[in-house]
């Protein structure tokens, strides 16, 4: 187990005050399903396609019940053709539908790369701003499910590298619902990564309609001594590590960028100017990855405020192994994040 659920007590966000009365506990998966259902009710152009998305509701059961309400015209089971149905989504998005495609495992995005990178991401720019591609690709990331090297990767850095795409990485049920609704309403191709180990994670979600803008980071925990920037389920890991740090008298601020593009650089930089130390935790590979980019943003923006080098913690640079004791070595844990943050704070 990489992490346990942490409901941060200190939040900077103002959203809590208005919605407290109607807060419910939902799982991360349920919040995703609710976002899709609400958007499909609101806009008849929204449709879903992917493998086993209809009656099966995906292997993770995230979409259970949607086909019963919206029918097979709007929840379309496809053959096992990731490139094919992603390409069809691009064309459908250009011509009046708002498709949400489901790529069951993030590892399979490799099969869709031409359609996402050369087509979806480029159509708007290449056409001089005339065609738009309002589509969402939902997919997963995250290791430690004992699924080995082709079902465990966190490849969100790949899409974050490409102009024309937006990339979303929710870390809580609340964020998942609000960000997905925004992604569906966006006029651009948006890739939405869900950590498959988080589907059962519970959290407060208001019953009222709400959205969360893309490109706005959230301070998940306020602190003074070190900034831990974390993405997706690594936010939960970071919050656990922050609790451990607190016992040592170290006050950690945990920031979730929520989207790697657009990236809320200012919030990250301001936090590090305050704390003077930064650790970036991301489950993608550490090399050339999201953590590397965020570390560079911080180094460029807060260099003269730093008391220690910016540190990255990512997945080990190995294919994810199957054997549990080996797999567990490859991903950041509360302990490894704690150790890295403490290391930054105890440098002379």
């Amino acid at each position: 187990m990489r992490w346990t659920l942490h409901i941060p007590v200190q939040r900077k966000s103002t959203r809590m005050s208005t919605a407290d009365a109607t807060m419910r506990e939902l799982t991360f998966g349920h919040a995703i399903r609710e976002a899709l259902g609400e958007e499909m009710r609101r806009d008849s152009r929204v449709c879903i396609f992917g493998e086993d998305v209809a009656e099966a509701g995906t292997p993770f059961k995230v979409l259970s019940g949607l086909v019963a309400e919206f029918g097979t015209e709007r929840v379309l089971d496809t053959p096992i053709s990731e490139a094919g149905f992603t390409g069809i989504a691009v064309g459908a998005a250009m011509t009046g539908l708002r498709p949400v495609v489901d790529i069951m495992f993030g590892d399979f995005i490799t099969l869709t790369m031409d359609q996402m990178v050369n087509q979806a991401a480029k159509v708007h720019y290449m056409s001089g701003g005339k065609w738009k591609v309002p589509m969402v690709m939902r997919t997963t990331l995250g290791a430690s499910r004992r699924s080995a090297a082709q079902h465990s990767q966190s490849l969100h850095a790949w899409f974050s590298h490409v102009p024309g795409l937006k990339v979303v990485l929710p870390s809580t049920p609340y964020d998942a619902k609000g960000l997905l609704k925004t992604a569906i309403r966006d006029e651009n191709p948006v890739v939405f990564f869900e950590d498959k180990m988080m589907y059962k994670l519970k959290g407060h979600v208001p019953a009222e309609d709400y959205t969360i803008p893309l490109g706005v980071a959230d301070v998940k925990r306020v602190g003074d001594d070190v900034t831990i920037v974390a993405t997706s389920s690594m936010v939960q890991v970071a919050l656990g590590a922050a609790d451990l740090l607190e016992r040592e008298g170290i006050s950690a601020e945990v920031i979730d960028p929520r989207t790697t593009w657009p990236l809320d650089e200012q919030t990250l930089i301001e936090s590090v100017k305050k704390t003077s130390r930064a650790l970036v935790v991301d489950e993608g590979y550490g090399r050339y990855g999201v953590a590397a980019e965020i570390a560079a943003v911080i180094a460029e923006g807060a260099f003269y405020h730093l008391d220690a080098p910016v540190k990255r913690v990512g997945a080990m640079h190995v294919p994810i192994p199957f054997s549990p004791p080996l797999e567990d070595l490859t991903v950041p844990t509360e302990q490894s994040v704690f150790a890295a943050a403490r290391g930054l704070c105890t440098r002379s």
């Binding site: 379309l76 011509t95 031409d114 087509q119 720019y125 290449m126 651009n188």
Partner: protein, 332 residues
């Protein structure tokens, strides 16, 4: 069995204006492309271009059977498709020269011309890159009840790409109004297609149960007649079709491909130019039928020539985009 070889379906009874218009369009594409070659040779055009000369009857015959709100997707060899669907030569040239007046504000260039006003979803520089887009447009047309049809143009080189088979499978399963138009100009770049293509081309879509027809791509009447039937069928809800058009690329893979004898002979090229030219074939037929005269066609030729010359001048004189354009329209 769904494989058929079509005879020219149209008769002289089809009104003269239609054939004259197709003649004019083919001449327009021919002269446009000759100007492109000229611009390249005179070093006035950035980059390269892939000429459609020799294949005009395919784009013109098919687009003549489409409504203006029907969709097309095109290829790296796409100028002919865009013009046949209604693009105007001046803004096409402007795009080829990277000028702001171009269809894509100069950001797309020769291989990416797109125009919502004429249903052009875009030319595409990835071989088979647009087959998903065309199929998706057909899905929208069906779902939204628009009565539109999507035509997906691609060369025989695209038969090597897996994506084509994925989307043909889906189109047939979902009975989408999309026509896959395979332009077999015999060469995947510099390699004869027989060296890259196992089995029969028409057997591929037929394996999915897709209505498949083969037509002489140099005969615009045959192309039009067959395309009209397949397009009307798709519009009525009859589903997907595949049209194999046998044609020939007179020029090289791109404007810089001058010495071609290592992959094909001059005699072969000459044979197609003199015996199988689509413009000459239509002209000869119209004259033979007494529908028009040499003089009337010559008049059209010179009208088109002057239109193309004006269009080139427009593009040469047009300004480049301003530097502030560089990061505009990355996101919508």
């Amino acid at each position: 069995m769904t494989i058929a070889t079509s005879e020219p379906a149209a008769s002289p009874a089809v009104d003269l204006e239609r054939w004259v218009e197709m003649y004019r369009r083919m001449v327009s594409i021919r002269l446009f492309e000759e100007q492109v070659n000229e611009l390249y040779t005179r070093a006035l055009m950035p980059g390269l271009a892939h000429l459609y000369i020799g294949e005009e009857a395919v784009a013109v015959g098919i687009c003549a059977a489409l409504r203006s709100d029907d969709y097309i997707t095109s290829t790296h060899r796409g100028h002919g498709h865009c013009l046949a669907k209604g693009a105007s030569p001046d803004r096409m040239f402007a795009e080829l020269l990277g000028k702001e007046a171009g269809y894509c504000r100069g950001k797309g260039g020769s291989m990416h011309i797109a125009d919502p006003a004429t249903g052009n979803l875009g030319a595409n520089a990835i071989v088979a890159g647009s087959v998903g887009i065309a199929t998706g447009a057909a899905l929208s047309a069906k779902r939204l009840g628009l009565g539109r049809v999507a035509v997906c143009f691609f060369g025989e080189g695209a038969l090597g790409q897996g994506l084509l088979y994925e989307v043909m499978n889906l189109a047939q399963l979902w009975q989408l109004p999309v026509i896959y138009v395979c332009e077999n100009n015999l060469y995947n770049e510099y390699t004869h297609y027989s060296e890259t293509t196992a089995g029969e081309i028409a057997a591929r879509p037929a394996a999915f149960g897709i209505l498949t027809e083969t037509v002489d791509g140099q005969d615009v009447r045959a192309v039009y007649g067959t395309a009209k039937r397949l397009i009307d069928r798709a519009r009525r809800g009859g589903g997907t079709a595949f049209l194999l058009c046998n044609t020939y690329r007179y020029h090289g893979h791109h404007v810089g491909d001058i010495n071609r004898e290592y992959y094909r002979s001059k005699q072969e090229e000459q044979h197609w130019r003199s015996e199988r030219d689509p413009i000459k074939m239509l002209a000869d037929w119209m004259i033979e039928q007494g529908l028009t005269s040499v003089d009337a066609l010559t008049r059209i030729d010179s009208e088109v020539k002057s239109e193309i010359e004006k269009a080139v001048k427009f593009a040469l004189d047009a300004p480049y985009p301003s530097p502030e354009e560089v990061d505009q329209d990355v996101y919508g």
